[in-house]
Symmetry: C2
Subunit: 278 residues, 2 copies
């Protein structure tokens, strides 16, 4: 894989738009999340509105469930006691899936999937497709970011968000709106102490992990931003990367395999090179 990336061209990479990047500031450091407005436009717009009204600042990571998710929001159990939402929407129609559009480039994985008729990558994100129902959806792989909701499908707003920190919980696919993925700082979330309450919620408020702030990259002075690039999934380099994970030619492997599963394909991220590479 490192050989594939070393051979990559500058055009294989896409600069992450600071207007679509969340900077989540925890006491332990910074987590960078790329939002996916192409897949969940209403929820992404609402999260940006929540960021703009500083909704998240001073709230908490309230849940850390082993082999599952970390989640943040307002810890108040009674919705009426939670921080009021000002300009943003308090609930939104779900964006669990969308139509399969012709102008959306999808790099399909030929080996298929247990859960969906077709899977692959679009805009450097894992996606699944069902041509029979004309549906396409983002997939719950490790590091994907979703919007918590109550029982009603339209009860999510982005005020509560979660990140997958375990084996891909694919049963959540098409049940919650995914809004992006973590590009940097996953380990700050995945190593948080697990909550001992039901579903991994922290039982003692003293365990809550404070959210200092969430900002968009575009709200920050340029010198405070991190210029990240993701490997484009619609490139021959990405196909070569998938192939390098399908057959393992490194000498350590006694059995090179021959197949690769959707959530086992890495989605490379790098710091933008200071000078264009050549």
């Amino acid at each position: 894989m490192s050989d594939v990336l070393a051979d990559s061209q500058p055009t294989d990479w896409r600069l992450v738009d600071p207007r679509d990047t969340l900077y989540l500031e925890l006491p332990s450091g910074r987590v960078l999340i790329e939002l996916a407005p192409g897949f969940a436009p209403r929820h992404v717009a609402n999260i940006k509105a929540l960021v703009e009204e500083r909704y998240y600042d001073g709230l908490f990571v309230v849940r850390s469930q082993e082999n599952y998710v970390v989640q943040w929001g307002d810890p108040a159990e009674d919705p009426a006691a939670r921080r009021p939402i000002a300009s943003a929407q308090a609930s939104l129609p779900p964006e669990f899936y969308g139509p399969i559009t012709k102008d959306l480039s999808v790099t399909l994985l030929p080996e298929g999937d247990v859960y969906a008729p077709n899977v692959g990558f679009s805009h450097s994100l894992p996606v699944a497709l069902d041509p029979a129902t004309d549906r396409l959806w983002l997939v719950h792989c490790y590091g994907m970011v979703g919007v918590g909701r109550d029982v009603a499908p339209d009860s999510g707003s982005g005020a509560e968000m979660y990140v997958v920190i375990g084996h891909a919980p694919r049963h959540l696919d098409r049940n919650v709106t995914l809004v992006g993925r973590v590009l940097q700082g996953m380990e700050l979330l995945s190593t948080l102490p697990r909550g001992t309450g039901s579903l991994g919620f922290y039982e003692d408020p003293g365990e809550y992990v404070p959210i200092k702030s969430i900002r968009l990259g575009s709200d920050l002075p340029v010198e405070d931003r991190v210029a990240l690039e993701v490997l484009r999934s619609d490139t021959p380099t990405f196909e070569a990367l998938v192939a390098s994970r399908r057959f393992r030619h490194e000498s350590w492997f006694a059995d090179p395999g021959g197949r690769v599963e959707l959530c086992n394909v890495p989605l490379p991220v790098r710091q933008q090179p200071a000078e264009p590479s050549h």
Copy 2:
């Protein structure tokens, strides 16, 4: 799933044999690992020999790689500088897979798998099968425990062991000998700070996490043992559990799904009830 377990019968559960249970004592607490002598008899016997000679005591967790594995052993880079192995073997023929034996009960998953012709559960462990080559092997799901090795397939002994703490790294299947799985205390491993070196190795010896001791349950006074039971995978209750994960009937689910993947099936563990339940 809780309904299925509440309806279970005492005979649905198997008491874990203390002679096959590792008690890994870390500064943060205890990790319990059930060994799988039915799948890797030589490696399990060697690990028991290593335990008996107190090989692991005072060694360290030396590696914690994000979305991958935690590993322990002797941190010395030069094999000649490592703690000498006394009575146990320093290398063993690999047990990457075995033959498909007729007297081995396997509960197959009808939805199949991306990596293997057939998958299912045997002795409450995830397994894969290839009838064409008459091979059966344990699968790298979250919490599975394996034996580190160098490039030579027979270079593993059990002196180094690792635990999967991320999305199932299935490319390791049939490349390393799996020897069991963690039954309790996974969170003590999965939340360890990640190493910043290559492959998640700790760069500073001050980061090593001490292993106070590893013992077999049968070596401990009865009052210090934890009597755990695992749900047998060859029972109608287990089939009902798989079905409950395949179709999600809870009211929260907008889409009940209809399929389940091998490593997403939980393998329930419980404290042995004080009185036989009825």
